[in-house]
Symmetry: C2
Subunit: 558 residues, 2 copies
C-alpha cells in the first residue's frame, strides 16, 4: 500500500478483513494517517476545535501506527516516501523523509494510492510568508492559526473550485475580507453559468468579492511577507494571506517511472477491478483517472468518497483475486457556500455541448424543499435529459434549501438509468416536516415532461438578458400579485397582470398574435398556467422564463 | 370532479392546463378547498399560527372558489355533496349541504376523488365532548383551541399509525400528558419491531406513554364531557381529550352505488391510466386502491403525495385521452417523532413474511448522517434484499439524523430496480457538511454485501434477548473502548475486550471453538472486524449483533 490518506488505509483495512494472514504495510510520506482532508476547511473555519477529530475514528481513537498495528494488524510507516517501484522483482524502495536512509519492501500485490498534488500557478513570489495551499494538515494548522490570531485582515483565494469556494467561505466568516479570483468566466465549474451566478451573488451578499475571467501574475512581498496579489489586468489586491486553490493533478510520478500506463486524463489507468497495466499492481483514489459512466471514457474526478469506494474494491481484489468491481463515476459533488449549498451530478449543459451531445433538453425549476407553512426554503434545480433515451443525464441544484437531498436523489436516478416517465411518478417519503407533497425533484421532472412534449417553451434568464441587450421586440409579462411586484421586480419594461386577472385582461396583450411574449412569476408554476391561457387564445410565440425571478441573476429595479 | 381536497383539485388544475376550453367543476362536500391536510398536526402543534396557510398557495392566495374561477377557470362548489352518479346518462346528483336543495350536473368525463373516512372503533361514548379525530380542518381548529387554551392536562390518542404518532407528538409538546394506545403489538406498523421499539423508546423519553397490544372499550363521561378512556384490560386512563386515529378506509359509497368495481383492498379499482371500470370515470387519491410495484397486486395506501400524482394523471387523461400512466406505489412514508424521524419504503421484513417471500436477506446498520466532527447524528437503517435478484426491496430508517434523505435515496433505488452490486459503489454528493465520505446508505449496502457473501453472520438485538431469556449458553463480547463501556453498557454478562487489544487477548475467548460468540460494538463496524479476527483463529460460531448498542431497545445496566 503506497499512500496513507483515504484510498490507501481503506484498501488496507478491507484487505485485512478478508485476509487475516496477509502481511499488510502502508507507506505514507506525510506524518499523519487517514486524514479527513475534506474536513480541513471546517477545522480552519472553527466549526470544531479538536484537530485530532480529523485523525481519529468515530469512537475517538487516533489513527496512528499503534492503532493500525493493534486494531487492524497493519504495519503503517509514516514519514516514509516510496521512491521507486521495480515491477519485475516486485520491490518498492522507500526513503525515510527525516533520516534519509533507504530500505526496500517486497510485495505480492501492490496498491498505489499516491493521491494528488496541487497545480501551482507558475507565478513569482509563491514562497512569501502568507502564501499557502489548503492541501495538507499543516496547511490547515497554519490557516487555523491565522484565523485564531485574528491579525490577517484581507485574503485572496486563487481558484473558485470546490476547495477555493469552501476556503473563501471560512475565511470570510472568520472576519477576513476575502476575494476569490478565478481564471474561468464563472465560479464552480461543475455548475452551468446561471446556477453559478446565483452562488456568486450569494457570496457577494456575504461580503466577499468574486473576480472571474482573471489570472494572477505575481505575489508581491515586503520583507519576505505577502503584501498584495497582482492580477493579469495589472490591478493589485492588498492582502496578507493568499490561498492557492487552482485544482489538483494526479500524483503519478512513481507509477509513470514504474512503467504503468498513464491515461489521457493524466491519471493512472485502472480497469473496473482497479488493476493497473501491471496485474500485480492496483491503484485507487486521486492518483487514478475514473471511468465516467455517462460519457463512456475516463475523466479525472478527485473526490474523497470515490477514493474510499475504490480503495475498498482494490483492497478486496488484491487479497481475494479480482472479485468485485468499481463501475465508475457520474461526478457527483456538493459544497456549502455560507447559507447556500451547490451540488451537481452527471453532466452539465456546458459539458453536453463540449462533448457534442446536441440532442438534450434542459429545464430550470425553482421550488421549496418543504411546504411554505413549515418554513420551506428555496432549491433551484436544473435537470438535463437525453432526448433519445428520455433518461436523466444531469442535475444541478443550488439554494438555501436541502440541496444535498435533491442531488442525492438525482444521482441515484441517473445511476438507475431512470427516464422522465418514471421520475414524474416517483413514490418518495412525504410529510410536511421533510418534503413537499410533490417533491421539488418530481416537480422539476413534471416541467421537463411538459417541455419535452412541447407543452411549454422555456427561456433562461440569461437568454432574456441577451435579448434585452440586443433590443429585441418582445412583451414581458409578470403574472405575480401586486404585493409581490411591489416588494421585488425586475424593471425591464415588464407588464404586471396577476394570473388571477389574466383571463379578463387578455386585451392588454400585444395585438399581433405572433409577437414574442415572455412570461414569468416567482418560480415558474404560475407562468406555466399563464402560458397555457395565452396560447389557448391564439398567441403562438410564448415562452416561460425558467426558474422565474428566483433564478434571475442580473441587477433588478427592486 | 368529485372531491376538492388533494387529488380532485390537482386533477382539475392539470385538466385545465391541457384544455383551456373544457368546462371543469369541482364538487366539494367540505367548506374548504385544497386543504393541506398533512399539515394539520403542525398547525395544531403551533409550528405556525396562520390557519390560512393550510388553504393558500405558496404566494399567499386563498384557494377559494374565486381563486379557482379567476386563476384557473374552474367552477368550485364547496358545501356540495354528490349523492348519486348515473353512469348511463352521465349525470351526478348533488345536494347543497346547508340548504338541502338538489341539482344535477352532466359530465363527459368524471373524476372521483372522494378521499377516505376515519375508521371509528365501535365504542360507546364517541360523542362525548373531548372525543375527536384529526381528519378535517374543523378537527384541527378544535385541537388548536385546546392547545392554545391550555386547560386540558391529559390526552389519550387511540392508534399509533402516522397520524396517531404525529398527533401525540404535538399534544405532548403542548404540555398535555399524552398516552398512545395501540391495538397491535407495536407502534408505526410500517416499521419492523426493532426499529419501532427505538421510536417507542424515544417517545417515552419525551414523557409520553405508549401502551401496545391494547384496545379501547369505552369513553367514560361526566356531564357530557370525557373524563377517561377505558381499556380492554379494564384500566381507566383519566383524560379530558381523546383523539381517534385508528386509520382510514377508502370512501367508496358513491362509487359502489354507481356500480364501479371495488377491489379486495377496499378501494375503487383503477388501471394505470387511473380509469375505473367505467371508461368515462377516473378516480384518484385515497378513495382508490393502488398497484404495489413490488408485490404486484393492489393495496390501500392513502398517502397525500400519491393522491397528487394520481390526480395529475387522471386530470390529463380525462381531457387528452389515455396518454399518461401512474405505475404504482412502493409505499414510501415518513413521520417526525419529536427529535427523531421514522421512515420506510418498499417492504418490511414483517411484510415479506406475511407475503411468503422467504428468500430475502435483512441487515440493520447504525451510522452517522455526517462526520462526527461536523456533529453528525445517528441514523439506524434496515435494508431488505431479494436473494434471487439481489435487488433492494425494502428499507427503513429511524433516528435523530437525516432519515428523510436516507429513505428518499432508498425509494429511488428500489424504483430503479437497483441491485446490491450497484448500491455498494454509488456515486453520491459528498462534503462534510452534508454526508459521510461513505454515505450511511452505501455503508448499509456494504454490510448487506458482506452478509450475502457469507462473510458475516448477523443477529438482531431481539434474537439476543430471546436467547438470554432462554438461558442459551453463549459468549457475549463487547469490543468498544473502556471509556465507552464505563459510560454505557448492557450488563448481560458480556466480556469487554477492546478491538485494539483483541489480537493479544484471544486466550480470553471460549476454549471450545464451536461455542457461540456474539460480538457487538457501538454500531457494528468494529464488531465486524472483531468477527473476522476471531474466525481467522478458528472459532466458527460467531455472530454480530446488528446495529450494535445503538439499536439495543431493551433495558441495560448503564
Amino acid at each position: 500500500m503506497i499512500g496513507g490518506s483515504a484510498a490507501g488505509p481503506k484498501a488496507a483495512a478491507r484487505a485485512r478483513r478478508l485476509d487475516q494472514n496477509a502481511q499488510i504495510t502502508i507507506i505514507q510520506k506525510e506524518p499523519d494517517l487517514s486524514m479527513a482532508s475534506c474536513g480541513y476547511p471546517y477545522y480552519v473555519g472553527g466549526f470544531f476545535n479538536e484537530r485530532t477529530k480529523l485523525l481519529s475514528t468515530g469512537s475517538g481513537i487516533l489513527r496512528n501506527p499503534d492503532y493500525y498495528l493493534n486494531t487492524k494488524g497493519i504495519l503503517a510507516k509514516p514519514l516514509t516516501e516510496a521512491t521507486t517501484i521495480d515491477c519485475s522483482s516486485k520491490k518498492v524502495t522507500c526513503r525515510n523523509v527525516f533520516a534519509g536512509n533507504s530500505e526496500f519492501l517486497v510485495y505480492d500485490k501492490l496498491i498505489i494510492a499516491t493521491g494528488s498534488i496541487t497545480r501551482m500557478p507558475d507565478v513569482h513570489g509563491r514562497n512569501l510568508n502568507g502564501v499557502t495551499t489548503l492541501k495538507s494538515i499543516s496547511d490547515a494548522d497554519f490557516l487555523r492559526r491565522v484565523r485564531d490570531e485574528g491579525k490577517v485582515r484581507r485574503a485572496v483565494v486563487i481558484g473558485a473550485g470546490l476547495i477555493g469556494i469552501e476556503t473563501s467561505e471560512v475565511l470570510q466568516m472568520a472576519g477576513i475580507r476575502t476575494t476569490v479570483v478565478e481564471l474561468l468566466p464563472q465560479i464552480l465549474s461543475f455548475l452551468d453559468t446561471q446556477l453559478a451566478s446565483l452562488i456568486e451573488g450569494h457570496i457577494r451578499e456575504k461580503g466577499a468579492s468574486v473576480i472571474t475571467n482573471m489570472g494572477v501574475t505575481k505575489f508581491l512581498g515586503k520583507n519576505g511577507s505577502l503584501v498584495a496579489v497582482k492580477l493579469t489586468n495589472g490591478m493589485e489586491l492588498p492582502c496578507e494571506l493568499a490561498v492557492i486553490a487552482t485544482g489538483v493533478s494526479p500524483n503519478v510520478g512513481l507509477a509513470r517511472n514504474a512503467g504503468l500506463r498513464i491515461g489521457k486524463a493524466g491519471g493512472i489507468v485502472v480497469d473496473r477491478y482497479m488493476q493497473t497495466s501491471d496485474p500485480d499492481i492496483y491503484a485507487a483514489g486521486d492518483c487514478t483517472e475514473q471511468y465516467h459512466l455517462i460519457i463512456g471514457r475516463n475523466r479525472y474526478v478527485p473526490y474523497g468518497d470515490l477514493a474510499n469506494l475504490q480503495g475498498r474494491v482494490a483492497g478486496e481484489n488484491a487479497v481475494v483475486g479480482n472479485e468485485v468491481t468499481f463501475p465508475g463515476t457520474i461526478q457527483s459533488g456538493i459544497c456549502k457556500v455560507f447559507d447556500y449549498a451547490a451540488g451537481a451530478t452527471g453532466l452539465t449543459e456546458d459539458m453536453t455541448k463540449e462533448l457534442g451531445y446536441d440532442d438534450t433538453t434542459a429545464v430550470i425549476y425553482a421550488g421549496l424543499d418543504k411546504p411554505g407553512f413549515m418554513n420551506g426554503k428555496t432549491v433551484i434545480s436544473k435537470m438535463i435529459v437525453d432526448n433519445r433515451s428520455q433518461k436523466i443525464i444531469g442535475f444541478q441544484c443550488v439554494g438555501p434549501g436541502d440541496v444535498s437531498k435533491q442531488v442525492a436523489q438525482a444521482a441515484i436516478a441517473i445511476q438507475g438509468g431512470m427516464a422522465v416517465k418514471t421520475l414524474v411518478n416517483l413514490d418518495l417519503p412525504y410529510a410536511p416536516p421533510f418534503a413537499q407533497a410533490i417533491d421539488s425533484f418530481i416537480a422539476c421532472a413534471h416541467v421537463m415532461e411538459n417541455k419535452i412534449k412541447g407543452r411549454m417553451r422555456g427561456i433562461t434568464a440569461e437568454d432574456v438578458i441577451q435579448k434585452l441587450n440586443r433590443g429585441d421586440d418582445m412583451f414581458l409579462l409578470d403574472v405575480r400579485t401586486p404585493g409581490e411586484f411591489e416588494a421585488l421586480r425586475l424593471g425591464i419594461g415588464e407588464t404586471l397582470i396577476p394570473l388571477g386577472e389574466l383571463r379578463k385582461r387578455l386585451n392588454e396583450l400585444p395585438k399581433h398574435k405572433t409577437k414574442e411574449i415572455i412570461v414569468y412569476c416567482k418560480t415558474s408554476l404560475r407562468a406555466y398556467e399563464a402560458e397555457r391561457i395565452i396560447e389557448a387564445h391564439g398567441w403562438n410565440n410564448v415562452a416561460i422564463m425558467e426558474g422565474g425571478i428566483v433564478a434571475w441573476t442580473h441587477s433588478r429595479a427592486k
